[in-house]
Symmetry: D2
Subunit: 151 residues, 4 copies
């Protein structure tokens, strides 16, 4: 599988993402990042119920939670309703318990914004640090292989 | 206690509530409704953990869930950043398992929007209809006594 | 062009759409409706800048605004993270100045929620009722032809 | 006036701020920051229409726009429905065209999250850097005087 399939995504800006200044209201960028991350895992083939808590029959929630401990963004150019964005993800493992994802949003081949989201893996019961879920570990590894291959 | 204290609330419109048309983006009204309802319960004295699921130590989630089964809104006048709104709640029990809350948003003594949210009480495990939580029943009763008293 | 292309859309539920009850938090449904409507117009071929205000060079905002005057929703079944929804739109012109769109959200061939959003066309300067924008009129007509054709 | 009045604010976490993990969904923190900043300006006495674009009669939008060019946050402890937060703002001018605000969110006297939002002043027409709006300059100065006074 080509990493293009799960690390390069598309998003169209919608009217409700804007504010009265006529451009994207800043914090929606983080929603886009998280949704792109979920889409990336989905395209790669990780089952959502292995990563995200839910309320399904049987109530088996993942043993590992992945709270966000840090995030940041830089806004370079105004983003407007109906802009068609390319979203490029660059996942990076930091240590056995933590990883981060870099996001780049481009419009008309120019970088409109970049962002970073850092997750920590914890045991959902004890809240102690633990190993990354197996699916995340595979996705991180494949993403980095993909990138090396594309140099 | 005067029902004014928990059925008449205030809210200031913030910039992120607007869209590129310069006015409140419609669906934020429902967020305001729900937040006003939570504030009303809080002012009346209902403990949040008796009504809303959470993730606290021990993980004791309320036995009764209150999913929203219907909501609607009418928008009468544009609502803008920094508008100071009066939010008036009118709770109404429909039957032993269900209640709804009417919301009226006024600005400068004119109705800017009205809304309605209808909840059903269900057992959080079985998803079967059940009696309203005791706190909600008390809040409904007190709200209606308050209104009769104010005629 | 087949109306399937602009009246039947897809949406995947994302983690940020849920609340601590483990299911979709109700008001996100209206965001999904509006985004589906924008996607429908886009697929049909209406230029976004003809319908939605923006902040582009030259600042030519559409002469006609389409504020929402009413909306409502019924929630039939819990909607969860990663659920893949089919969104079906049924546009309906009400009179020369107004139209509404019915939305049906299905998951696993069962209706999970329905919604309705009603718009009024007004002159963006005078705030007086006016004719629908030409693009909206075409989209409404084509949508209804499409439906008749599919009977 | 005591800077306590406009630099130390309160916020109650609401149910819609959570996700299926039972805690605050991360990006809402930035919404809280921006709303706290608006509340701070309001308490200090800056007219909203001098700072934020709107759609009022006459359509006089501020000449200076204050787009966010950078933001970041660190999440230290889980934040849950009904938590009562103290929000402390620390504004800082960076140069004649730019300022940032540090935000600290405390719950039960422990820091739950910190954030930073950096704004650039630009001419709303030409998009060129310009001086900060007079109201912002006064608020920045008073905020820093207040802090010095409180040492």
């Amino acid at each position: 599988m080509n990493p293009e399939n799960w690390l390069r995504l598309n998003r169209v800006v919608r009217f409700g993402d804007t504010d009265a200044a006529g451009v994207m209201h800043f914090h929606h960028l983080f929603r886009w990042c998280h949704e792109s991350w979920e889409e990336s895992l989905q395209h790669y083939g990780i089952a959502s119920e292995d990563i995200f808590p839910s309320n399904r029959n049987g109530d088996v929630t993942p043993k590992v939670a992945l709270p966000i401990i840090h995030c940041q963004a830089d806004f370079r150019r105004p983003i407007q309703t109906s802009n068609s964005l390319v979203v490029e993800l660059r996942p990076e493992q930091l240590n056995p318990n933590s990883f981060q994802v870099h996001f780049e949003f481009r419009h008309d081949n120019q970088v409109a914004a970049i962002a970073l989201i850092r997750h920590l893996a914890i045991n959902a019961q004890t809240r102690q640090r633990c190993a990354l879920p197996e699916g995340i570990a595979r996705w991180l590894e494949a993403s980095n292989l993909g990138r090396i291959g594309s140099i």
